[in-house]
Symmetry: C2
Subunit: 218 residues, 2 copies
Amino acid sequence: MTKHRFSATEREGVYRAIAERRDMRHFLPDPVAPEIMSRLLEAAHMAPSVGYMQPWRFIRISDAKLRVAMVALVEEERRETAAALDERGEEFMRLKVEGIRECPELWVVVLTDRRERYVFGRRTMPSMDMASASCAIQNLWLAARAEGIGMGWVSLFDPAKLKAMLKAPADSDPIAILCLGHVEEFYRQPMLEQKGWDKRKELTTVIWENYWSANEIS
Amino acid sequence: MTKHRFSATEREGVYRAIAERRDMRHFLPDPVAPEIMSRLLEAAHMAPSVGYMQPWRFIRISDAKLRVAMVALVEEERRETAAALDERGEEFMRLKVEGIRECPELWVVVLTDRRERYVFGRRTMPSMDMASASCAIQNLWLAARAEGIGMGWVSLFDPAKLKAMLKAPADSDPIAILCLGHVEEFYRQPMLEQKGWDKRKELTTVIWENYWSANEIS
């Protein structure tokens, strides 16, 4: 117990957002109120970033032609992935992996250009920019859950092609297509668990002491 | 408004955790109750992961010799970073960048080995493993804030050397040294802002529409 601890209900809100957040692929057509979108983006922008670099840029896709092109881009990668997955390819093709066509809010998160200027915390760990932007996306995701808004993070795309589509510089890197919207229901479990793709590991198998352990049931 | 929206106080908890989370480098010596640490790790493990790969492994450092070795490892990288920072090197050396020596809970997060088995969402975006583990760390960070526990994410280390120290496999990747503990006060602003290292960008400069924009004030 400390004086810095939140109230029981506030804590419950945090743990509930964490537990009930889902990677959504089903959306209702109702628009998301602009003031909610603003709060979500503010939440994202409050994320930690290595050396305070704030590498994230958020691009809202309102152009219908761009959206159609993104649907095709993801479909292309979905087929490539199925082929690469080999014996699980067919099972993968039966999964709904995104809601790009139907989500009322479609966003792309891009790591900004000229990131080599930021050395603090990245000299040996350049991918800390990806880490920081992922924390921003997780903030957005949790805030969205609290607002009753569903979100999905799609990473099934060729980043070079998406970059070209958005006329983004060669040294920028799109890392996420985010689909947001109201939902009929949040999945009770992660969808990949509901569909039998995989299950959650026991917590004890991912926590070790002092040294790497080989006790993982994989 | 939707039926899925949290209560006002629960929402406030989520937004407050996001707004008041800080990258802490000052800790009190009081131990963190094991049941709190368990809740934080459970929160981390509820993070989204690409293709449900759950790439995160958490190693608790209880061995004092390992801790001393990690202090030296980070100090080495701190000096290398200062040298690489050139004209801002001296200013950087005056910053307190970690609390490894004093934090009561010291953890390393490692991306597990044999991750090439996971193709779903990673064929063109292999660093989605880093993204997923970063979401887990952000969950832990926000839950810690709600519990009144401070956390710092240190990335100033040579990952190959840390891997060797922890006897981790060649194809695993340590991504974070996490320092946790009670704190006297949470910084009112990010410490790097308080110390004048950099400031938060205006939100409007990181949000664009349809295409890359060059309106950023850098």
